[in-house]
Chain length 320, copies 2
């Protein structure tokens, strides 16, 4: 079993020194590669890897078409300012091709995972000649994978892939003893700007996890627009996480004073410390109604907006 | 055009006298029939009809299997106490047979309407030898039908049926000049107990309008259980209407600490005067969270509960 290091016991500087040594020891004079999503885990492992390896670590941001509005540019910009080069890879066509016609949540997740690791990232790794791959896996990912609550996109064994055998590389997971709060503390010590920690958690399958049913280009664009409204409107309430979910069910609405069927967006906004348990944030009704109106105004196909009022458990944070 | 009588201008006693005369004049020494749903409109027209015709008006309550828990018994009991005999007709098998495999909202509505009028009520009318049929159509029904917002279940022409020709009977609509508030005033003057007016509006297709997708026996039972929780919990807030809607979309939940897919209930609770415009009731979050928990506890397949936060328009009161 992996030994947990609680956030309050974490001494960031000695942890950094130790992990820098470990990474250098493992990589030797070779090259490593990692994929940056812009989340706290992958951002922190990127900084740690560059502290250890400098330009011998190649960092890529895979644009899968499932990210939020402006996300690739924003993340690459932050790291550019920190002196870390990030290569943005446009793989949108590959992801939408893999998601075509897929409606089952597990199969969707699988399509995103397979396209990411096997097709796109696998190819990049081979081309890079790197023998080591850095991943931001944290202890909660391992727990939830073992408990069967979640299939983490960054746990390779589940794909039945031995990376050493398949691609000739080894995986390094320097954050595996930490939970989210420990990673935040570490990331700050590594110089990540405050805005990175104000980012709310975002799922591995990205906006594909925010549509019920097929994650087509059009439906992803719809939920992307709604997400932009929700993130802007709810950023000031100290919530743990908030999201827009596009439903597949059609509901009745009125357009030009006539009955018509439209789509529904579900908004979830969570109070939580570590995502293991969570309750809906008690937002003022003024805000909820404004939010609904703004979504309806910004996204023409939407006629109805709901707000989640169930807790986790038995709900989960994400709907898909 | 039908001349509207506003509630504040309505003199119930002279209105009753006038309509009693009209009904007696039309029916002569024949017999009439009407279907009671237990809503304010059909309850008021039942009282008015019995005032005019006594036992020459036959009143039936059609148990379509789509009503709320205990509803048939409760409605028949109220009228029994008022000295009005109501015959409860068990037609559940016919309705579920007609709804089998039907998922489109319009087709579901059509299946309920056709089964009600053409099959069940049509047969009862023929058997009763009545030549007149009393209906509780109000002015708002006519407006909304003309505007295309709603297909009222009690507007015959839409079915392409000339009742005189098809069944040999004439339709009497004594409430057609009134809106909901006028009907309430009239119903009180006719001696309907207060509890009838505390009843919230309930749609013609009943619980079939409260499930997205197929209205199977099992899904109707699920939404019936959720409806019972919602109506009990939200009855004290002075809201215009409140409801539980069973979605077809599956969402992730946790059961026995493992990831599992479950069903979602959407709760809508409306503030409105006459249903033409409506806003979500600003319920306290304590109540919303309790409500979600009670639904999850009472209905085992439910893992998620949402609350509507959009206004009408562009939403409608009902989802289907």
């Amino acid at each position: 079993m992996t030994k947990e290091i609680a956030a309050e016991e974490l001494d960031p500087q000695s942890f950094i020194s130790e992990k820098v040594e470990e990474i250098r020891g493992a990589v030797g004079d070779g090259r490593a590669i990692n994929a940056l999503s812009g989340g706290v885990d992958s951002s922190t492992v990127t900084m740690l890897g560059h502290r250890a390896l400098g330009e011998r670590l190649k960092t890529v941001f895979i644009q899968n078409g499932l990210m939020r509005a402006g996300e690739a540019e924003q993340v690459a910009g932050v790291f550019r300012d920190l002196g870390v080069a990030v290569e943005v890879i446009d793989a949108r066509a590959e992801f939408f091709a893999a998601l075509k016609g897929v409606t089952d949540p597990e199969e969707k997740r699988e399509a995103v995972t397979q396209t990411f690791y096997r097709d796109v990232f696998g190819r990049l790794v081979r081309e890079s000649k790197a023998k080591h791959l850095l991943q931001g896996t944290i202890l909660t990912d391992v727990d939830e994978t073992v408990a069967g609550i979640k299939r983490q996109h960054n746990v390779f064994e589940q794909l039945g892939i031995d990376p050493q055998e398949a691609f000739g590389y080894q995986i390094l997971e320097p954050l595996i003893q930490l939970r989210k709060d420990g990673v935040r503390k570490l990331g700050q010590a590594l110089g990540l700007p405050d805005e990175m920690f104000r980012r709310i958690p975002f799922p591995g399958p990205a906006l594909a996890a925010r549509v019920i049913g097929e994650a087509s280009l059009e439906r992803i664009e719809t939920v992307r627009q709604a997400t932009q409204v929700v993130e802007k409107r709810l950023s000031g309430y100290g919530a743990f996480q908030y999201m827009a979910i596009l439903h597949e069910d059609r509901v009745t609405g009125m357009r030009d004073n006539r009955r018509d069927f439209g789509q529904q967006i579900e908004v979830r906004c969570w109070d939580s410390v570590d995502a293991r348990v969570a309750t809906p944030t008690r937002l003022p009704f003024d805000i909820l109604e404004q939010l609904a109106q703004e979504i309806i105004d910004a996204v023409p196909s939407i006629v109805s907006v709901t707000y989640n009022i169930a807790s986790k458990p038995p709900s989960t944070i994400e709907a898909v």
